[in-house]
């Protein structure tokens, strides 16, 4: 335990004033811990890591961490990250978003970053709600749940984050929860090491808004629910489709090797240069 704390301290900013913005009992810090442990385990140099986030509770994560960090606009983290990664393929660029951030306002960028298969790691902390603005329903809020803008329950089906990433073409897709912190560490580690677009859905909760509005109890109660309502891939196989519907299925859902965007661009440059030198020879002969 004491050694664990030591690891985290090494990656937190000594100049940043704590405490953080999150409510006590919030799970976003667990994801931050998992990210730190993953980076530490890979042994990345702090200078070669860039964190890019959007707006919301989750978007505040990078400011506490001692890397190159960029807190951008709502929903656009992946677009900023695409520019940064394309300009600097030597950097490990990791984006950190919430469910409203990544799936609603940023849904289009999410699809296209996955489709392009650019070498980014995207972490989406899914707490089923817009927390910072006070508990409005998000694209992942379950049907019939209460939210501050859904006083009679939501009537919109939720967006499946991982399934969307798979359909769009991501190379690595995994889901875990803040209860399964050790698993989360490992998935993030694999996602960072993966060449291509990788997505981690980290299922959490927001006891302050979602929990209160839906009478789900304390953070401890909500953590217990994550444990009880989840199933690993192998456990899920034994369940009926109806039983599976109500579970958070966690595990690696996709892991494939496919051509990566910045690599393909380098090949394109070679073709362009080859054509240019051919043209140069032709026009040189005419002169």
């Amino acid at each position: 335990m004491s050694q664990e704390r030591h690891t985290a301290h090494e990656y937190l900013r000594p100049t940043k004033k704590f405490p953080n913005v999150w409510c006590s009992g919030c799970g976003i810090g667990i994801v931050m811990g998992a990210l730190i442990r993953a980076i530490d385990r890979i042994g990345l140099d702090k200078d070669e890591v860039a964190l890019v986030s959007g707006i919301g509770c989750t978007g505040r994560m990078p400011v506490y961490m001692d890397f190159n960090t960029m807190h951008t606009t709502h929903g656009r983290a992946l677009a900023f990250a695409t520019g940064l990664k394309f300009a600097r393929p030597d950097l490990k660029v990791i984006t950190i978003m919430g469910d409203g951030d990544a799936m609603a306002i940023g849904g289009n960028h999410f699809i296209h970053a996955a489709r392009r298969n650019i070498d980014l790691t995207a972490i989406v902390v899914n707490n089923f709600i817009y927390g910072m603005t006070g508990g409005q329903y998000s694209p992942t809020t379950p049907m019939n749940a209460r939210a501050s803008t859904a006083p009679f329950g939501t009537i919109e089906p939720p967006m499946p984050i991982c399934e969307l990433a798979i359909a769009a073409g991501a190379s690595f897709v995994a889901r875990s929860t803040i209860y399964h912190a050790v698993e989360l560490d490992k998935f993030i580690e694999r996602a960072i090491l993966k060449k291509g677009f990788s997505l981690i859905e980290a299922v959490g909760y927001c006891h302050t808004t979602f929990g209160r509005l839906n009478k789900l109890g304390t953070p401890v109660d909500m953590m217990k629910r994550l444990k009880e309502n989840s199933a690993s891939l192998s456990e899920a196989e034994k369940l009926t489709p109806e039983e599976r519907e109500n579970r958070i299925v966690h595990g690696v859902l996709r892991d494939v090797d496919q051509p990566e965007y910045t690599d393909l661009y380098n090949q394109l440059v070679e073709r362009a240069m080859e054509l240019k030198s051919q043209e140069g020879r032709r026009s040189g002969g005419a002169r």
Binding site: T15, K16, E48, T69, H71, A79, G83, F86, L91, H112
Partner: protein, 373 residues
């Protein structure tokens, strides 16, 4: 170099390359698309990066991300796309990240008339994003100037750490003229001021003599924070008034104290008292013709071309308004920059000549105004 026939859009693309632009992200839109097309061909050949993004919001986001990575970066669009980019123009102003945004104006509002000319985005270039912020916007009047001012746009952007709007109109963008471009290695370019202090001394938004803090690229060993929130000298979010006020003062001051460098005007016959035409972009071409016709008729008439429209050339307008009988302001809109001229010169002296139907203001329309008809 040889004389070549080319479009304003193409000359602008070459100007960007000559200035050292090595990153372009954009989304297809008429009448700016030729810029993206030529850069998709030329950037890979000079070690640069080209990417077509999913929309204009993402385009400017990618441009800002690439600039943080250390590349001179640009996007190009037209009215509807420019509207979508406004939030990120504000982000670049707030975070002081250099970037160039080209807007080849077309007739609006909304989808409007994609292939028709307009100067309808003058006020949007100044005030399109929310909140108070400085901005630089410059308008070429010819194909050759599209090259030259593209270089200038990058130089201003890098020198002052600010977004720069390169505001063309459809006429300048699509018009073809014979031009002789300079050798690229003779073009003067400005590089952003970097840093070599020890990492623990670096303050990304600290005070500096020039009011422009040195900018480290990500990956250089200076691990700092960038945010669109108000921030302290370390880049961390702040709500303290004693940190917010100095920031607002500094970012405005860094432009205000350099107005002599930033505001570019061309004067022709200003010393003569009489009528003075104040014009920019394609309307300056009509104005030049009108002034020539008026002089043949022995009218006393001068002309002030504004290459920089933001920050506004207050001093120049103030100077001419002391002696001029009348100031004629032709624009392809219903009177946008005329509001600024009126603010400085007084409403009574200013005669607006407006056309907002996609056609140019004609020399005859301007001549009529010069003659007081």
């Amino acid at each position: 170099m040889t004389i070549r026939l080319m479009q304003g859009n193409e000359a602008l693309g070459w100007g960007a390359i000559a200035a050292g632009c090595r990153f372009f992200a954009g989304y297809p839109i008429t009448p700016s698309t030729e810029i993206a097309e030529m850069l998709s061909r030329e950037l890979p050949r000079c070690g640069g990066k080209f990417i077509q993004m999913e929309d204009e919001i993402a385009s400017l986001a990618a441009v800002i991300g690439a600039s943080v990575g250390g590349l001179k970066s640009m996007t190009a669009t037209s009215g509807p796309g420019f509207s979508l980019m406004q939030e990120h123009i504000g982000y670049a102003a707030m975070t002081e990240i250099p970037c160039v945004v080209v807007n080849v104006q077309r007739l609006g509002p909304s989808t409007g008339q994609p292939t028709s000319a307009s100067q309808g985005d003058v006020m949007q270039a100044r005030w399109g994003t929310h909140g108070d912020h400085p901005i630089i916007a410059i308008c070429p009047t010819s194909v050759r100037q599209s090259f030259d001012l593209a270089v200038t746009a990058f130089n201003f952007s890098e020198q002052y750490r600010t977004p720069v709007i390169l505001l063309l109109d459809e006429v300048i963008g699509h018009m073809r003229e014979p031009v002789e471009l300079p050798e690229f290695n003779t073009v003067k370019h400005v590089e952003r001021t970097g840093t070599d202090v020890p990492a623990e001394w670096y303050k990304p938004y600290g005070d500096s003599i020039s009011d422009v803090p040195p900018m480290a690229s990500f990956g250089e060993g200076y691990r700092y924070h960038i945010t669109g929130l108000f921030h302290d000298p370390m880049g961390y979010p702040t709500q303290r008034l004693d940190e917010i006020d100095p920031w607002i003062e500094r970012v405005h001051r860094k432009i205000q104290r350099n107005l002599n460098d930033i505001i570019m005007v061309e004067e022709d016959g200003i010393q003569e008292t009489g009528v003075i035409v104040v014009a920019y972009g394609a309307s300056a071409r009509s104005a030049r013709h009108a002034v020539k016709m008026a002089r043949q008729r022995r009218h006393k008439v001068g002309m002030l071309s504004l290459l920089t429209i933001w920050p506004f050339a207050e001093e120049a307008i103030d100077r001419i308004s002391r002696t001029a009988k009348r100031i004629v302001v032709p624009e392809m809109n219903l009177g946008q920059l005329a509001l600024e001229v009126e603010r400085v010169a007084g409403k009574r002296k200013v005669v607006r000549v407006n056309r907002a139907n996609g056609e140019m203001v004609t020399p005859q329309m301007i001549l009529n105004a010069i003659e007081g008809r």
